[in-house]
């Protein structure tokens, strides 16, 4: 399991990831993010249930961020699990991504 849920909330798309994301299924994450971005809407990626994520999973998030920025959309991370946060910190990407405690906070920060 990698992409557990995709839904639209108040004009933004929330993509929830879950389980162990590695070289085997990072491609699925990448596809899901790029497909969602085709709708030209801001994206929230929920990492609450991510138990493991490695460089290939991070690379998919980074690619999503780059595409989003190019088309003037936001890609933010919400409810980042401690494990995923640790990996983002190791990659020094914790300052590159906007990170919110949950979906509500993301909406409050950028109404």
């Amino acid at each position: 399991m990698s992409v557990s849920n995709i839904k639209e909330v108040q004009g933004r798309i929330v993509v929830s990831l879950a389980g162990e994301i590695d070289l085997e299924n990072a491609g699925e994450v990448r596809k899901a993010l790029l497909a969602a971005l085709k709708q030209k809407k801001d994206l929230l990626v929920d990492l609450a249930d991510v138990d493991y994520i490695d460089s290939s999973g991070i690379a998919s998030l980074v690619e999503g961020l780059q595409v989003a920025r190019k088309q003037k959309n936001e890609l933010s991370l919400v409810a980042v699990s401690p494990r995923a946060l640790r990996v983002l910190e190791l990659a020094r990407l914790d300052k590159v991504f906007s990170i919110y405690p949950d979906v509500t906070a993301a909406f409050a920060a950028r109404p």
Binding site: E20, E24, D54, I58, V62, L65, Q66, L90, A91, R92
Partner: protein, 603 residues
């Protein structure tokens, strides 16, 4: 005696005072007198008094040549009249001719000699009858003359008198010359002591060498004081701040600006974690308070031993050299103008990953080493660094200078070199020449598995490593990191070594260490060019190379072990328990890694 004079007659017996030995006694007593008074004029007076006493004459005077060698000035006179201060042009009068022609001069009847300078007699009322005048010389150098007038006996001067006067004139010349040298020495000694103090203060501005740090520098001034400097220090999180600078010009003003710049760097470098910003502040400071025409070229940066990341900025300094494993030396492009020229200069940060390589900053004194017409240049420096590539960093740098010295190369400027060796940073991710290490005796083999190089196997491998790490008493957070690093290493094999195909196999062997865990990953793909595996620049938001960065940040050691024959690669990964480093005090490298490798401790 080099001077021309008539030979003494066959029956002429020289008195003791006329022999060379007597002259030496005379010189020795004059030297003692100088030593006691350290006063040239007083001793000149004593010398003259001795001379007229021994030669039994009515008067005498001693002339010294001025600095330009044009005028003889009377420095002492004895007898009824004083002519101290009288100046005679070189080549004129008896004294002037004696010196110009460098010969002993006898004048039997002064008023019949066309060269006699009567003005002195007319002014003083003294009546000169006969004159004996001897040049004073030290080695080849004429310094003046001494003349004696009118033997009290009324007799003319004879060759015996001439001998004695010449011996005494030479002795006096020697003593005067020594006294002058002594004066100079005293002054030189004072300046030397001050320079020594300045040099010592400068040396104390340099960092204390620390073999535990992967950074090292050398500063060798061409004169007593240096216009170059380097500095480095470890910040609380293990990052190393460093700088190397070169002040325009040499001498004391350059040394003072060097001291100021070095002090400002040490102060600012403790808080400003941005080399470009640090250089901007330094630049403004130097622009505001430094005399015109002086400037400083400088490289400043930050290096993280835990990851190999190096961030630097360059203000007009020679581009540093960088050497990645299995690649040639490269220079990093030159940058902004030097510090102290334009107040609003913008400096730029650059980030690279040393990736097991070497970073070398140096002053132009190094590359301008000369051997005849030949200049060392960066190519020559690269070559010397490479000759000594297998030595520890400090020895490697020292050998560059000693090779040049022994090879007859001449330094023409202050010499400063600063290097960071990422190989010795405690990770040893890529060593070029590693002996096949003996199987670690303290390692206990836990298990081994072989699996196809297929991404779906990652999820099968991780639980096995997790269980082993628990058996090795790692804490959960450390286990999560270990799984990430091991997974990245396996993915590297799948993606890079096997090119993403599934044709090969991977063997994993897991060993327990007394203070951690050791993983060996073996594949059977073509040899990996370790120089090509690069972590990505961290500030660059782009996938790729990130896995290697994770391995380096998490593992205490990640080494490719050369295999004796056949295809394939063997990667050895070591992680030590954080608690182990604290409990047993650990080796220096282990301890340092414990502090810097786990960024969650400080975040």
């Amino acid at each position: 005696m080099a001077t021309a004079q008539s030979d003494p007659g066959p029956g002429d017996i020289r008195p003791p005072t006329g022999t060379d030995a007597g002259g030496l006694d005379f010189a020795a007593s004059l030297a003692r007198s100088f030593a006691a008074s350290l006063n040239v004029d007083a001793t000149v007076g004593q010398a003259l008094a001795s001379i007229i006493h021994l030669l039994e004459t009515e008067a005498g005077s001693l002339f010294l040549l001025d600095d330009k060698g044009e005028t003889l000035v009377c420095r002492a006179s004895a007898g009824p009249v004083k002519i101290d201060g009288l100046a005679v042009p070189m080549g004129q009068g008896i004294v002037g001719l004696t010196v110009a022609e460098d010969r002993l001069t006898f004048v039997e009847n002064a008023y019949e000699d066309k060269n006699f300078f009567r003005a002195a007699d007319e002014r003083t009322g003294f009546v000169t009858r006969s004159i004996l005048c001897a040049p004073m010389r030290v080695g080849e150098k004429l310094i003046g003359a001494v003349q004696v007038l009118n033997k009290i006996s009324g007799q003319p001067f004879d060759s015996r008198d001439g001998n004695m006067l010449q011996v005494m004139a030479n002795a006096a010349a020697l003593a005067i010359s020594n006294a002058r040298l002594a004066d100079q020495l005293v002054e030189q000694e004072r300046i030397r002591r001050e320079l020594e103090l300045a040099a010592e203060i400068q040396r104390n501005l340099l960092p204390v060498p620390d073999d535990d740090l992967p950074i090292c520098g050398i500063n060798r001034p061409i004169r007593e004081v240096s216009g170059d400097f380097y500095d480095y220090f470890e910040l609380p999180d293990g990052t190393i701040a460093f700088a190397l600078g070169d002040v325009s010009g040499k001498g004391m003003n350059a040394a003072l600006l060097m001291a100021k710049t070095a002090s400002l760097f040490r102060c600012l470098g403790k808080t400003i974690r941005d080399p470009a910003r640090l250089l901007s502040i330094l630049n403004r400071e130097i622009c505001e308070t430094t005399s015109r025409g002086m400037f400083v070229t400088m490289v400043a940066g930050l290096y993280e031993p835990s990851t190999g990341t190096l961030r630097y900025a360059n203000a007009g300094h020679l581009p540093p050299l960088i050497k990645f494993p299995d690649r040639l030396y490269e220079t990093l492009a030159p940058e902004a103008p030097p510090l102290g020229i334009l107040r609003e200069t913008q400096f730029v940060d650059h980030e690279i990953n040393l990736n097991g390589g070497l970073f070398v900053a140096f002053s132009d004194g190094i590359t301008e080493f000369r051997h005849g017409e030949e200049e060392l240049g960066t190519d020559g420096l690269s070559l010397l660094l490479e000759y000594a590539h297998d030595r520890p960093l400090a020895q490697r740098l020292a050998s560059v200078l000693s090779d040049l010295d022994q090879g007859g190369w001449q330094a023409r400027d202050d010499l400063t070199i600063l290097a960071i060796d990422d190989r010795s940073a405690g990770r040893a991710w890529q060593r070029e020449h590693v002996e096949q290490p003996p199987a670690p005796t303290e390692a206990e083999f836990l298990f081994g598995i072989t699996f196809p190089a297929e991404p779906s196997r990652l999820k099968l491998m991780r639980p096995a490593i997790r269980a082993a790490a628990r058996a090795c008493q790692f804490e959960d957070e450390e286990i999560q990191d270990l799984l990430l690093a091991a997974g990245e290493a396996v993915e590297n094999i799948m993606v890079h070594a096997y090119g993403g195909g599934t044709k090969g196999e991977i063997t994993l062997a897991v060993h327990r260490l007394p203070d951690g865990i050791l993983l060996r990953l073996r594949d059977f793909a073509p040899r990996v060019d370790t120089g090509k595996i690069e972590p990505r620049p961290l500030e660059e938001v782009r996938p790729g190379g990130l896995g290697t960065h994770f391995i380096r940040a998490i593992m205490d050691d990640a080494t490719f072990i050369p295999l004796p024959d056949g295809e394939g690669n063997l990667l050895e990964l070591v992680k030590r328990r954080r608690s182990a480093g604290v409990a047993n005090g650990g080796e220096a490298g282990t301890e340092r890694f414990g502090e810097t490798g786990d960024s969650k401790d400080r975040d």
